[in-house]
Symmetry: D2
Subunit: 388 residues, 4 copies
């Protein structure tokens, strides 16, 4: 096996990020199995045709079913809106295609479990798009924990703060509609925090949450690209109800005894994309903030008494994961590189005939927590993860 | 009224901080009514005698009741360990003395209410020692909120992180014993966060908490000063049970609709004294960290599009509360100055014949939240503040 | 004109950075004229063949003269070691090819002037690779100055600090040999600072410098990639003399009256790539550090009195140069993106039939300052720029 | 010897800072010899009488000669404007009084040498007020260097940036008049940097400088306190010439081979009091910024490869100089504490019958550099320190 032929469903924000990863992979990781950008799929022909040309796909289709019929396609990359994930994944698994699905896996926990089961029954490889794991600074945190350099973990606290919908005239885009997005800040932002906690700390035993929708209705959208969109500022413009959460917080207990604290909100002015966590252990601590994604703050209790302090580690040295593929030390990388690294893992797993990590098991595990939190909010009580 | 004669109970960490405030007040705030350091009280005669001489008190006594008999004493300052607050306060109020009591007011909510009632019935002035309100950067946050410059408040998140007992050989000092301290991180650190939230955001309606004692037993102490202490590292040294929480987290809803998130822990390596909060409103945000207590990070949504960002405001300009009393702009102040400002307020209130702020009402309000959180932990459910 | 056919000389660090820029341009800037990666050239056939395949060039050659013979090549990209720039550029200009040359333009000022003259006489377009201009945060600094938002400029201070050769066993790579590199920290790092000052502040009138080579000789290299290399730690290993400066500092006066302070060193442990400047003007200040290249610190004197402070502007909003081509606000970019933006400018200039900026005029201007500083060091006196 | 009787000349900014140090010393350093605040002296009787009462001096005089006549005064503290230092110091030495003189020692190098000679001939103790040495974070830097933990020193770069006179309507206060202040940013701010470099790195061999007065004339002052003052914004208000430098920069070589870079300016908007330095050595680096005076950034080259980074050391632990006298770890101190520590050293030296450090030798050494820089500016050439 020397290359993997990819068919991709979706061509917006995530479609662009994934395309870039496929496109640049060989240049920086030449020893990796090489993804070949075969076909991209979208319902709007003009849109997908333009994306195909711009991103460098060999061709495009407007019905994802066509991808499944093609024998020369090995992997289906699903980054369409969340409500479409399940149907595509089930069919693709049945067709024997490997799967790379954006998070959240599905709108509900049962759906995500069905997806996992389908992939397992079909015997295909499956990956879920928790890209933040692949920031070298996050990989460093993982390494320090695994090597015991932080000792026993006491605390995991994390927050994903954004501010793109603080303005009440920001329109009612699909991410604010439950039937398409599944949830708001919880599934969009909180899901990343939950996965990071699973990756770094392990499983949870119980949770309790709280959520709020601060702006109850918004003008209907007139245009949208990425996370930016325009709505009418006219007070008489037609409006619709916001059906997802603007902010969701929850506390948790981890299996290893650590205490967890999570906050996801789109109502934090000044925070464009603060995906941040801190971990405290008996031997040290680490802090991460995605807005400075090349850095990890690291503290060790056994440093000499007079020079104890958080170190700002710029995770761009050859000693840091993936970094010898890029530039000399001190030359930072950006958001899109997390996807390149993610695809490195995907290609490597396919080459080694093993499941990539994170895979649908991780996707389901994340969804379990999302759902347990939702239930804890609805029922105003602690919910055990194994209840859901 | 030109001066206030003070009798003080307690001479350790807080006793020193208060003494310094009385001592320096006139030098920097010469227009203020002047506190006179009459008598300091402690049970250990050698200790209190030395403190009296060192801190500059006119004399000392070993029984606080003697302070109450003295006609020339106007104000009783109570900073003995928390379990002694109530008895002293009740007697002092009865003796017609004004009260300045360290936080937490008492070990329990009923006790603190009894203290408030006693003070009100005696018609004396009463202040509670939430000194962090008096950092100029915190005062700036308050001003921005009061003037509407942050708009409607959506989020208050706060954490008070310390690391002085992470080492399991750190001994079982009084702060780790429930019968003396009342609680651990919750009452010691969390109380400050709760008060700051009351000051900045307003009252809460309901809470739910979680807590943990990571190290269940510790060696008995052999010596202690301030927060530092020595215990035996000998594994066979006599030990005792830790009866307070090492960490307590809780979530809350505020009366104004904001969501609250609180975390107090003594198990966060690298954090010597991170008393920190962030507030997000519809028009802006602020961030504070006591380890950089002269700074407030401030963000406004209506800044020009290309230069939006958190401003690091060094709150040492004449435009900032209390700062024209100190040094030129850019010359920072330290921890002890919060107590000086606190006493400025106390003296001013006495002069104006009004209650100082914060007073026992605030102390009780804080204790209500502490107790509601405790109950929510015990009963594993949301507890409304008006339940307690 | 819809596309530009490129022939490139060099395939190491800069060759990779340029290749990536050509490769990704269309994906993110689809309206731009498109560079076509025709031929890459290197003397080592195995090396260049591998680079051609890895980076995505259509073919390769081992003699750059072959590029000039090809009618279908429009642009020659020169990023071979500095001592080769001149000969290639002169021949390419003569052959009517447009030029894109890495900095420093040449080893000496006369050589760089000859290159400029040749390009002008041939009537071709010419660009020089001062890529740091193209960081959006730097572009924002430029915009603020041009719009008068910083007022009259008083100070420009800049430092480029690295630490990759602090270890005395680091070997004698080509960058440490005067005959190939021209100079050390001065031409490699200082050149970027000088160009940034020209871009942001304008021309200088006089300079005086100081330099030092801390480690006088080093082991001969056994291997090298990018900026990392291995030498022998064996004390008896063969050594050679370091013939360039480890550090060069200089002061300057600008035509507009501002004072300049420059420091370039490879002996600053902890600084992997601190390319940093600060500008103070009558109405405000800005600070930049390439290790946090997405950020610009901005201060305005006319902010309200109580909230004055440096703002941390994350230059990833649509309001910032080039950023609407990438990801949503808050999603940072990395080092390589500066080259993509550089090529955007190059392509746009070619389309509009104008000289790109920065071009060889800027390259010469930079070299004038480098040489004036060198002379000021040799003669221990202030040297006027128009002396050289 | 149990106490030292002090007579002090000057009662403004520095007078207040020194008074506070005397006042608080015993409370925090009870084992120290105790300064007794005997007499304060100022020419304006109303002013000095008020200062005496406010700061806590036993009495006041309006002619400093009276202090010298008093047998019960051991130490003369001189913090009057710089032009008065010499006369007072000479007479006080002659009268057998110990000397504590604010920096700069005198307006000229010969004057400062005369002061040193007088003190030596009289056999009295002499200290000069370079208070920044006494920040615990600076003491930590010193300790790391002395213990060899930074290795051989390559670079010292320092800048003292302020912004209090950026506004052209700020009036012509005494600090802007050469005949009283001696110099502007150079002697006021640069002097501190020079002394810090002497303390941390050692002596210099040669210097070359550059300076500028950006605003040539200013309105006459109508009032002044500390560094703040009011002038008329009326364009027709009477004006006078600014006769000192607004900014002075210089480069230097140190005796140990390190390169020095210094910048002092009052024209750096956003910098209220950025007294900052960075030191790079073969084994590590440190960074200090007075606006965060409790912190030292520390980097070691021998940290493990994957966790190298500047540590933010909060110098408030018992392991840090002077800090066990104050509060628990993490509780910061402020500007005025540097003076308390300075007086601790002064008292200890008097007790041990040795010269305090820094003393007039250090004052003269600083003045030598100031003068060498001045000469280098006037003569536009490198000046050796031993020329002056």
């Amino acid at each position: 096996m020397k290359q993997i032929n990819v068919g991709m469903v979706g061509y917006k924000f995530m479609g662009k990020a994934h395309s870039h990863a496929y496109r640049d992979l060989h240049m920086f990781f030449p020893k990796s199995v090489r993804p070949v950008m075969k076909l991209i799929c979208g319902r709007d022909e003009a849109g997908v045709a333009q994306a195909a040309e711009q991103f460098g796909w060999e061709g495009y289709v407007t019905d994802w079913r066509e991808l499944l019929k093609r024998d020369d396609i090995d992997l289906i990359d699903i980054n369409a809106p969340s409500d479409a994930h399940k149907e595509i994944a089930l069919a693709a698994a049945k067709a024997g295609k490997h799967l790379f699905c954006e998070k959240p896996l599905a709108l509900t926990l049962p759906d995500s479990r069905e997806m996992l089961r389908a992939a397992e029954e079909a015997g295909v490889k499956h990956m879920v798009g928790f890209n933040y794991r692949f920031a070298p600074a996050v990989q460093l945190a993982k390494k320090l924990i695994d090597e015991g350099r932080l000792g026993q973990i006491y605390h995991f606290r994390a927050w994903f703060l954004q501010d793109w919908i603080v303005d009440p005239s920001f329109p009612l885009v699909w991410r604010l509609q439950k039937e398409i997005a599944g949830s708001g800040s919880h599934g969009d932002l909180g899901a990343h925090l939950i996965d990071l906690s699973h990756y770094l700390i392990g499983g949870m035993t119980e949770v309790i949450g709280m959520s709020e929708t601060f702006i109850k209705e918004r003008p209907l959208p007139t245009s949208m690209t990425g996370l930016s969109a325009k709505g009418s500022k006219d007070a008489d413009a037609p409006k619709g109800p916001v059906t997802v959460d603007d902010a969701t917080l929850f506390m948790s207990r981890f299996e290893n005894g650590a205490l967890g604290s999570f906050e996801a909100t789109r109502f934090a002015p000044g925070h464009r994309c603060t995906n941040s966590f801190e971990i405290n252990g008996s031997r040290g601590s680490v802090k991460f903030d995605f807005e400075r994604m090349n850095e990890l703050q690291v503290y060790f209790t056994d440093d000499a008494e007079d020079v104890q302090g958080f170190r700002r580690v710029l995770a761009t040295d050859p000693a840091h994961a993936y970094m010898d593929a890029w530039w000399p030390a001190g030359h930072t990388i950006g958001y899109e590189h997390t996807f390149v690294h993610e695809v490195v893992e995907l290609m490597q797993a396919l080459e080694e005939d093993r499941q990539p990590v994170p895979n649908f098991v991780d996707g389901v595990k994340c969804q379990e927590v999302l759902e347990a939190v939702d239930r804890s909010i609805a029922e105003r009580r602690w919910v055990k993860i194994d209840e859901v």
